[in-house]
Symmetry: C2
Subunit: 376 residues, 2 copies
């Protein structure tokens, strides 16, 4: 593995917490952290053009190896010049390994030491995803940050189940490291598993740190465990991660989750929440929980979120957004997604600003209080 070369630089640390601002450098540009990556599952952040995604403030997006491997195929994408060119996204891309999607297939998959055997959700065809293939696919896609194939430990799991699962993940991490092309400009991150057992998490961190990956991710959280347990695992595990590498909390989460995890020293996030919620008409604001189909918005001529600077909030009323949603119009998906992504991007800007001026604790406490009012 090539030595770590300026992949990540810490810019500020918060005096009262583990929160930090950093600058991530990739072949396709730099990313200020803490950062949230909108999810572009099939090579598109659902319902938005890449120009719009960029204009909303997103610097890096996540794409799914599993989906792109099955359709249209990584070799096809490689032959067309790689994923950036294919989807016309000029900024950094992180690809997951496909592990989580395969895990989510439930009965359609089987895990062996060699890899994961699964059936396509599209046509039922059989596939075998190994750590080596996951790297091959991600190298073909040409993402900026690749992830090691891991086994997502389910919740609940006994200690010995979680321990066996972790062993597999660690052996796959080592194989991923070896499979990666020496000359690759693509970063590779290891994933810390270990279920809900602090001892296993500690062991995982030590093993992953020893493999000298470009970054470290926490996986296997937000898989059905109680919120408090997730918070505990993040709070206990993050401080153990190598401080000079980016810390990525996979698949998390709500605005509250993000604000709390930043406090523990997390730098990177991804989640389908803003995009998926948008398509279901659930819209984020700091003052109100908006379920846009509700009759109360029928005659509401105000903007969705008077604090928001997005195209949706500047140009349309809640009444119109409700009408579009109820009428099943495609534009509802676009305008809602646009707002929710902008909400997340503004949140990350506020987080970075707060850390930058040493006010993260105050920001966090105010934000969580505001959001509590929203939820109740």
């Amino acid at each position: 593995m090539a030595p770590l070369n300026q992949h990540f630089r810490i810019l500020n640390t918060d005096p009262e917490s583990a929160a930090r601002c950093g600058l991530l450098s990739t072949p396709h540009g730099q990313v200020l952290t803490p950062a949230f990556m909108p999810v572009g599952t099939q090579g598109t952040v659902k319902s938005l053009t890449p120009d719009t995604v960029k204009a909303l403030g997103a610097e890096m997006i996540l794409c799914n190896t599993y989906h792109l491997y099955l359709r249209p195929g990584h070799q096809l994408i490689a032959s067309l010049g790689g994923l950036h060119s294919f989807m016309n996204w000029g900024g950094p891309i992180l690809t997951d390994s496909g592990g989580f999607q395969v895990y989510s297939l439930g009965k359609l998959r089987k895990i062996t030491p060699e890899g994961a055997i699964f059936q396509s959700h599209i046509d039922g065809s059989r596939h075998r995803l190994t750590p080596e293939l996951a790297i091959e696919i991600q190298e073909a896609l040409g993402s900026d940050i690749m992830m090691c194939l891991d086994e997502c430990t389910p919740y609940p799991a006994t200690f010995s189940e979680a321990e066996a699962s972790l062993s597999l993940t660690l052996s796959w991490a080592e194989r991923s490291r070896k499979a990666r092309a020496d000359s690759s400009p693509q970063a590779l991150y290891g994933i810390v598993q270990g279920g809900m057992y602090p001892d296993l998490r500690k062991r995982a961190v030590e093993a992953i740190a020893a493999m000298n990956f470009d970054g470290c991710a926490l996986g296997g959280v937000s898989v059905g465990e109680p919120k408090a347990l997730m918070e505990q695992i993040v709070a206990e595990t993050t401080p153990l991660l190598p401080a000079d590498r980016p810390h990525y909390l996979m698949g998390v989460g709500t605005p509250e989750d993000i604000v709390k995890a930043v406090d523990c020293g997390i730098d990177l996030f991804d989640c389908v929440m803003p995009t998926r919620c948008a398509r279901h008409g659930l819209l984020f604001t700091n003052t109100e929980k908006v379920v846009i189909k509700n009759a109360r918005y029928r005659k509401d001529n105000g903007p969705l979120d008077s604090e928001c600077d997005c195209y949706t909030c500047r140009n349309f009323s809640r009444a119109y957004l409700r009408h579009l949603y109820v009428a099943g119009e495609i534009l509802a998906m676009t305008l809602n997604t646009l707002h929710n992504i902008r909400y997340y991007m503004r949140l990350m800007e506020q987080i970075r600003d707060a850390i930058g001026c040493g006010q993260y604790a105050a920001f966090k406490s105010r934000f969580l209080k505001d959001r509590q009012r929203v939820e109740t």
Copy 2:
């Protein structure tokens, strides 16, 4: 009815045909004609933001009275400041009368001298649409151009059926004229029916012309009759229309239909074709008929249409557009619609340019020859 006040000015006429360029003035701005109006059925041109619609070159759009009356309701829209404000479209809007949609309901509607009784396609509720109500709805919406309620004569129809239907349409036209508020800044167009009978069409034109509407529309074409018959009706009827009023051919049509109808003196068009085709992956170019899901585009790294200046053609490959379509991504709808609308807008620009420099006959013959190659 208020006297005609600068609603329409002819700028150029073609020396060899009845084609003409004009300038239509409305309370929300001017429109160069011949013009094509993208259809915004439910208060949105499906899958596009109004900013995008404008950027594509559309100056005026059409919205459907029937749909907006049923959902969200014209009174609601009026209470929120009217349709322009509701959908954030600052340019001119033409509203149809709802007649064609009611006609399309088939067995769910019944026509009486008083008006049309129909059941909502949404919830089955019963409604009665009269000429007076159609005006009331359109005045509440605040469109720039209103249409009289008419009965769309079906095809085929016997002479006496078509004659009876025309009588009804003419009596409704007179009632519409009277129902319109004297002080209204909204224009009102009459509709010429008469089925496929030149005598009836002539009679219709005379009656409609005598009512001194701001513009005259040809209705009841493109309702299932052979293409040649439609062309004949348009070619025979358009020259009879008052030359100083805009001539609007309702619900037409293909690029070829438009080019031929302009030759007869038609100024305004609307059709769901570019938007609906786009959502079905049928894309317009002057060199090739593109059905984007076809396997032949799987590895095609070229633009959809190398002649086109739209965002889709400048930024994405056919392979990517195919992938989005096959994967069922919302962005497919947006990018496809964007291209098809731009194709129509460029066509109208080319038509106006050709008329402006007295070359319409040459343009028409070249265009139809090109398109013939595309279709075969």
